[in-house]
């Protein structure tokens, strides 16, 4: 594993990778300076301060907390506090995170929540703490409170794509597809080139189309939109496994539908492309998926970036497809 692993936000790491990082904590604690003096004289002799150092500390802190290595997490936090001070908003959020992590009973969580409220009553524009409060509410099961606080946060900070994304996740967990889709669309307004968010929106629209209770008109609308979103994610990213997977899923479903009945709802805005186009898209996604699965199973050079779990899912989809054709 490369040292650059420490500079990534740790959310996307597997438990094994997080454990690996957490075990490196003593080495990192020893190998990096605990404080960096700001005086120019000492800067001449000691290592230069770099943003990467503090990023590394933050990521180590998160990984240590995740792997229940609380002692090391405290040491990292201490260093961050000596550098940035107690009243830095980001550091306040990390301190809260540490307290949340070691909270055992429900009472502890309520106490932490009160502390957050106390901080926010002094300064209600403290966004990191607001976010901590929302995730604590969600973690405690008070989802509707979390959603309403998040909406409040978005009211005064509408360009926060991360918060929109969290809002969409909350709505999705409650089965409110229309609201979830709206929130992801807001993320896309802020980051129009994010290929993974396009794929995510496509997935949500596919879920919304196939949810129970969707009328046939909205079904068609959602499917047409999902098709467009997956196509856009592929347009933004060559050989995007997730995009092709979604495209294949949607076109498979649409082709099944067209065999059953040929009922088309006339709506200019959300009209599906004709069957020939859908068939061609299906063929393309099958070809691309099998190419990706083949190369990535053989561990070919230049094809090792895919997540093995995703590749396995693609293989399963392809084999179920092949079985359906044989039948």
């Amino acid at each position: 594993m490369s040292p650059s692993l420490l500079l990534h936000p740790p959310g996307q790491l597997s438990p094994a990778a997080a454990y690996y990082i957490s075990r490196q904590a003593p080495a990192v604690l020893q190998g990096s300076p605990s404080t960096v003096s700001s005086s120019p004289l000492s800067a001449l002799f000691s290592e230069k301060e770099s943003p990467e150092l503090w990023l590394k500390y933050e990521n180590m802190l998160l990984s240590c907390l995740r792997t229940e290595n609380d002692q090391a997490a405290h040491l990292f936090l201490e260093r961050l506090v000596t550098r940035f001070g107690d009243d830095n908003e980001r550091i306040m959020a990390f301190k809260g995170l540490l307290k949340e992590a070691v909270a055992r009973q429900n009472g502890d969580q309520v106490r932490i929540l009160n502390e957050y409220d106390q901080i926010l009553s002094e300064n209600d524009t403290n966004i990191p703490i607001t976010k901590r409060r929302i995730s604590l509410l969600r973690s405690m099961g008070r989802v509707s409170d979390a959603a309403s606080s998040l909406v409040q946060l978005l009211e005064f900070s509408p360009t926060d794509a991360e918060a929109w994304s969290e809002l969409s996740d909350i709505y999705l967990s409650q089965g409110l597809y229309a609201q979830a889709i709206y929130a992801v669309e807001e993320v896309l307004v802020l980051a129009p080139n994010a290929w993974n968010i396009h794929a995510r929106l496509g997935e949500m629209q596919y879920m919304a189309a196939n949810a129970t209770g969707a009328s046939s008109g909205s079904y068609q609308k959602y499917m047409a939109e999902a098709l467009k979103r997956f196509a856009r994610s592929i347009e933004l990213c060559d050989d995007y496994l997730r995009g092709y997977y979604g495209l294949k899923l949607v076109t498979n479903k649409l082709l099944q539908d067209s065999n059953k009945s040929n009922k088309q709802v006339d709506d200019d805005e959300f009209a599906l492309p004709d069957v020939g186009t859908i068939e061609r898209l299906n063929e393309l996604s099958t070809a691309k998926l099998s190419e990706i699965v083949r190369h990535s199973t053989a561990q070919d050079r230049g094809w090792r970036g895919y997540d093995p779990v995703e590749v396995a899912a693609a293989r399963e989809l392809l084999s179920s497809d092949a079985a359906a054709i044989e039948r």
């Binding site: 650059s4 959310g11 229940e68 993974n196 060559d238």
Partner: protein, 144 residues
């Protein structure tokens, strides 16, 4: 690739140094010749002489060789098209973003939009800890 480019640069530099030295020696010789000539004969002679062709050619070739070595030692060019760049991140991961020594370049952060799905500001640390504890249990069970 690095070995070849380094060797080429070193060889080119050597050649260039040799050409310089030759030029210097040549001019020194010319001055000496002119001095001795002016001593023996009173006729003033123009000392402006041209450099021999072999030194000029050596200089040009040495420069080209150094240039080639330097060009070969540059980092591989990065894609400038969005979809190609994004595809490279997805297909090759950090393997596609290495410098000449095979180390992952410092700026590589994978898909920069991944944070909208991870949302580090909203991390639910208790859930993550529970998941980790379960992973430890399951991997310990798998080992037994």
């Amino acid at each position: 690739m690095t070995g070849i480019s380094k060797a080429l640069t070193a060889f080119g530099s050597l050649l260039l140094a040799h050409a310089c030295y030759s030029a210097h020696e040549h001019s020194a010789l010319q001055t000496l010749k002119a001095a001795t000539l002016s001593l023996t004969s009173t006729a003033s002679q123009t000392t402006a002489t041209t450099l021999p062709a072999d030194i000029a050619i050596e200089t040009v070739i040495a420069t080209l060789v150094v240039l080639l070595g330097l060009v070969l030692s540059t980092q591989p060019l990065r894609p400038i098209q969005w979809r190609v760049w994004a595809g490279k991140i997805e297909r090759q991961g950090e393997e596609g973003f290495v410098d000449n020594n095979g180390e992952v370049i410092k700026e590589y952060i994978g898909n920069p939009f991944q944070i909208f799905e991870n949302r580090p500001g909203f991390v639910d640390i208790r859930k993550q800890r529970m998941e980790f504890a379960e992973w430890v249990k399951s991997s310990a069970g798998a080992e037994q």
